[in-house]
Symmetry: C2
Subunit: 156 residues, 2 copies
């Protein structure tokens, strides 16, 4: 329960050698209405249901609530989500100040798209920008996973 | 997790003397799309988040998944639900075969509406119809709570 402060970037060059862990994510949406998105995620063997509110003007801060659920619950909820389910590999890359980037390598209809996100304790928290980081796309709604599930990268 | 088999009726005459318990419910919807409604409920001091799928042709059977959450979580989630929040008192009235009716006395914009529901283990399970039970409205979408939150009884 709380707020999520997040900045989002495209990714330029190979980053995988920097990753300390990675896992597979399947995710779908029970609702993609921006004021109250409801996401179902299966992260390897663990499920989650997540509710996010609308972002502030800059797109960095959103209300977020998340609950862990079982793999079986996640699979049954994914089955009634809006088409289509997003499949991606997520790589964790530590950076300064105990922060880390999450880099998503999208699969399926979004293959070719790479997005890095960093979650910040405060909006003005300093973080180093590694050389593999591309243009910032924070707040651009076409990069929201909820948008990618409806209009995937292959159809841009 | 599972399926919900439910029949729904209007209520004719005073039923409160038959109730063995009652409580207050505040509920809102994160999504009212029939294929995947997402409900947030505060039942006295306990919260719930519930996902329901679309009904079958007769309207009696729907996929249902529910998780208990804290009162504080429910209050924060209700704050971002679609307008408007439904307020009602629910009365529990036992009947034959260890079944029971839940009778909702709606408040606020739905004041005057009384709906009785009975959840059945099988679609063809026998149950007695008490004399306070009115016409059956199973499957009539205007009586769904998700519909009442958007077009309340006072605006019919």
């Amino acid at each position: 329960m709380g707020q999520e402060i997040e900045r989002k970037f495209l990714v330029k060059v190979d980053f995988k050698s920097k990753a300390t862990q990675h896992f597979h994510i399947s995710q779908g949406f029970l609702s993609t209405v921006p004021e109250r998105t409801v996401r179902v995620r299966l992260k390897d063997e663990t499920g989650f249901i997540t509710v996010k509110g609308i972002g502030n003007a800059s797109g960095t801060t959103r209300f977020e609530w998340e609950k862990e659920i079982s793999k079986e619950e996640a699979i049954q909820l994914l089955a009634i989500c809006e088409p289509t389910i997003i499949e991606k590999n997520r790589y964790i890359i530590p950076t300064n100040n105990n922060l880390f980037f999450e880099v998503d390598e999208f699969l399926g209809d979004n293959k070719g798209l790479l997005i890095a996100e960093i979650e910040l304790p405060k909006e003005n928290t300093f973080f180093e920008k590694p050389n593999w980081l591309g243009d910032e796309v924070t707040g651009q709604s076409k990069y929201y996973n909820s948008a990618l599930s409806k209009k995937p990268y292959s159809k841009w």
